[in-house]
């Protein structure tokens, strides 16, 4: 038995070594600060923009920034789940546009023929959520059943759904909507500091953050992105799980469609166009790995805040608008570079 005890001690020693001496300091540093470095970037941006343009610290600037962030945050929450599985959903912006148009078209037609009851609103909202989830289901099924890369599949649905959106109302917007939709976009709590759409987005972030970190569904989402073969061997129905993940992304695109429609009191066929780029950027800035297995909703919230702040901050600082995109692009590349460094110096 002597030998076994020795072996115990050896393993214990090796474990300790891994946590102290055996690991390069840079890796330990990156692991320790985790997603906090993005929080640091956010604080620096707030201070920097606030110094250049003190109007950043006003209610108006906060409301503009927060309202801008709503649609990207809701999309980015779903995108986080997808990216954690090592997938990508390029279609979520197009899904937003399609579901917003479909639900609004239904509401406009019901308003014309029936009275404007709660039924119209409920039917319209349900249709937005259902079309969003439906497009997600389609993505998930094509990816898992035909074993095609998510990038290609969602690029295809992005194109097809964008075209279909234009077919819905001959490419024109829908403004004839029930009053409730407008109310949803303008109502707010805490004496106007917290618009309802912002509240909805934050509530969704909280709920889905808990789903990702605290539930079996979340754990399996990480497992699939980390090692799909391991997940399969553990008896997890990976295909079914992936379909559900893409459905979540689509469903949230439907919710985002509702929020955008409420915000503008109208549905536009170009709503959501290119949103997927911002959503993916937010997730990646937030520390998720595009190789899967890593990412948090907390990080995504910060990533979205950084993007929103860059946008309003640069406007307030009177910088030409195109610099916004350059800045956001630079942050994305920086974030991916950091992810890369982590992976290479790190662990896998």
């Amino acid at each position: 038995m002597l030998k076994v005890e020795e072996h115990q001690r050896d393993l214990a020693e090796t474990a300790e070594e891994d946590e102290t001496g055996g690991v390069p300091w840079f890796q330990r540093f990156m692991e320790r600060i985790g997603a906090l470095w993005t929080l640091g970037v956010l604080v620096v941006l707030i201070v920097a923009f606030g110094t250049v343009a003190p109007t950043l610290y006003t209610k108006a600037a906060w409301l503009a920034t927060a309202s801008f962030a709503v649609e990207y945050l809701i999309l980015a929450i779903g995108q986080t789940f997808v990216i954690v599985t090592a997938g990508i959903d390029l279609a979520d912006g197009a899904t937003l546009g399609f579901s917003a148009m479909a639900g609004s078209l239904l509401m406009a037609n019901m308003l014309g023929s029936h009275d404007s009851g709660g039924l119209t609103v409920v039917a319209g909202i349900l249709l937005m959520l259902a079309t969003g989830a439906g497009i997600g289901l389609l993505n998930g099924l094509i990816i898992t059943k035909m074993k095609l890369p998510p990038f290609i599949v969602t690029l295809g649905t992005l194109t097809a759904v964008t075209g279909a959106t234009d077919l819905l109302n001959n490419g024109t917007e829908i403004t004839n909507l029930p009053g409730f939709v407008t109310t949803l976009g303008t109502a707010s709590v805490i004496s106007g500091w917290l618009p309802v759409p912002v509240l909805v987005a934050l509530a969704l972030a909280l709920v889905f953050g808990l789903v990702l970190t605290r539930t079996r569904f979340g754990l399996r989402t990480y497992a699939i992105g980390s090692n799909e073969v391991a997940a399969r061997r553990a008896g997890i129905d990976v295909d079914r799980h992936l379909v559900r993940v893409y459905m979540i992304s689509g469903l949230l695109a439907g919710v985002a469609g509702l929020m955008v429609t409420a915000n503008f009191s109208s549905a536009s066929p170009i709503a959501g166009a290119n949103d997927e780029l911002y959503a993916i950027a937010a997730v990646v800035i937030g520390g998720a790995s595009i190789f899967g297995g890593r990412g948090t909703i907390f990080g995504t919230v910060i990533g979205t805040a950084i993007i929103a702040l860059l946008t309003t901050g640069l406007v307030l600082a009177n910088v030409q608008p195109f610099w916004q995109q350059v800045a956001i692009g630079a942050v994305v590349v920086g974030a991916v570079a950091v992810d890369r460094v982590r992976t290479v110096v790190g662990t896998d």
Binding site: D18, T215, Y222, G235
Partner: protein, 270 residues
């Protein structure tokens, strides 16, 4: 030292029911006979080696035992009862656990999450129906499970990706043991490891078999097979051509059976 207690059981395998029995198993891929009429048994507390040259049929046999492949004919019995697998999950359900060469672990997950992956514990009550994890229960159970297999790792919350190769192998084996396996199949467990780590995995295999869980070890590392195994089954062109006991033979003659030169020389073994 610790091998004394195992040899007692291994010396009289015929007396008790084998934990795993392979009876007349054949596998054909079209005209290719990957396996022909394979017969062998594994008993409690035994470590059995499965060796053979490339293409001898080792992977095919392991895949059949782990439920990934169907035999063309023949039977597999676990504790005397015939079993038939539609999938790897079926094999695991009857207690045949395979630890693969490429380590079926998720590097981004903690040790406890890996140990419980696929059979996570949820809290009781409504939150449990929503899949709310009972992290505390899984963590403390993980500590116990790893203790039982003499695996000592600083914290079960460490990410598996940060562990050394030997420690990962230990977690994978610990996971198999924790799942209540009756037989452990190890496919090239030391192929990716350095010498020191190989020795640790060797100790681990002894510990596991000491717990009454027999081990089928598939390995190219013949010195290790020779040192660890109570019995060695040699496959040659899809047949079992020899079953050798390292205690009664030397390493060179195992090699000569693997290469087929022993057969040409007209030897017999069984």
């Amino acid at each position: 030292m610790d091998s004394g207690e195992q040899s007692g059981a291994a010396a009289s395998p015929g007396l008790e029911q084998p934990v795993l029995e392979v009876r007349g198993v054949s596998k054909r891929y079209g005209s290719v006979h990957a396996l022909r009429d394979i017969n062998f048994e594994i008993h409690r507390n035994e470590v059995v080696g499965l060796v053979g040259d490339n293409g001898a049929g080792k992977s095919t046999l392991v895949n059949i035992l782990s439920g990934a492949l169907h035999p063309t004919s023949g039977q597999i019995l676990v504790d005397g009862a015939p079993v038939s697998f539609k999938s790897a999950t079926d094999a695991r359900d009857v207690g045949i656990e395979t630890v693969y060469q490429d380590l079926a672990l998720a590097p981004d997950l903690s040790i406890w999450a890996n140990l419980f992956l696929g059979r996570e514990r949820t809290v009781s009550g409504p939150l449990g129906w929503l899949g709310w994890l009972d992290r505390r229960a899984m963590m403390s159970r993980s500590v116990e499970d790893l203790d039982r297999t003499k695996i000592h790792i600083a914290s079960v919350s460490s990410r598996v990706g940060r562990l050394s190769g030997g420690q990962r192998q230990a977690v994978a084996v610990g996971r198999a043991v924790a799942w209540g396996s009756r037989v452990l199949l190890l496919d090239e467990p030391t192929a990716a490891l350095g010498v020191e780590q190989q020795a640790k995995v060797g100790d681990l295999i002894r510990t596991v078999s000491g717990h009454g869980i027999p081990v089928l070890l598939i390995s190219h590392n013949l010195p290790q097979v020779y040192e660890l195994c109570d019995r060695v089954v040699v496959l040659f062109h899809g047949r079992v051509i020899a079953e050798l006991r390292p205690k009664e033979t030397d390493l060179d003659s195992i090699v000569s059976w693997i290469t087929g030169s022993a057969m040409l020389a007209g030897k017999t073994a069984r």
